[in-house]
């Protein structure tokens, strides 16, 4: 199955792209997807910050199981406001 990963801020810059499609095994968790991306994208391998996870615009925990067609966002530390 396939998910769409959107990348923002420091992750977008490190990966050199804002969006990618990723093939993953059935019942993969979002935490497993992140480890896969780190192996396949050298720019992300060097990222050593803690991330929050979001699926289809809602925060989820690292054990959240993904479904075909999900929109996934790895959320680096947020810094909105002022």
């Amino acid at each position: 199955m396939q998910v769409k990963v959107k990348l923002f801020a420091i992750l977008r810059e490190r990966a050199g792209q804002s969006e990618l499609l990723q093939e993953i095994g059935n019942d993969s968790t979002i935490g497993e997807l992140w480890q896969t991306l780190r192996k396949e994208h050298s720019g992300l391998a060097a990222v050593n910050i803690k991330l929050l996870y979001a699926v289809n615009s809602d925060y989820v925990g690292p054990d959240h199981v993904l479904r075909d067609g999900d929109e996934v966002v790895f959320v680096p530390p947020v810094s909105g406001g002022c």
């Binding site: 923002f8 801020a9 420091i10 615009s57 989820v60 959320v75 530390p77 810094s79 909105g80």
Partner: protein, 149 residues
Amino acid sequence: MYELRDKALDLNELVQVVGDPGAGAVVTFIGTTRDNNEGRRVYSLEYEAYPGMAEQEMRKLGEEAAAKWQLSRIAVHHRIGSVPIGEASVMIAVASPHRDEGFKACRYIIDELKKRVPIWKKEIYEGGEVWIGTQTGDPLPKMPWVSGS
């Protein structure tokens, strides 16, 4: 009422949006960009958001505030893109029957916005640039709003 904007924010617009003849108070907050941070001279700031989720999370904050205090209407506008020094990056307006609730709600919304709304700030300073929050490996906040985390 919960919006991202790519140009200058307008407080009058928020105040009009929350206008309510039954409200005895409108409390507003304006967050502005500073020309310095941790001893560095900051030249400019860039804000980036996850569209859709950012507005949704701002709306959730408004709903949480409305569940805690008696409020009439709430508006939150956050600017994205390049924001010149000294201009507003965020504006909040809360109308409420009484002022105490409005002050508390305004404070709650800006404090929580900084913790969990997916918006990121990059500082461009003398000699470099940095995405705020990523430079020191600061631990992320606990996520009581995520089930199972």
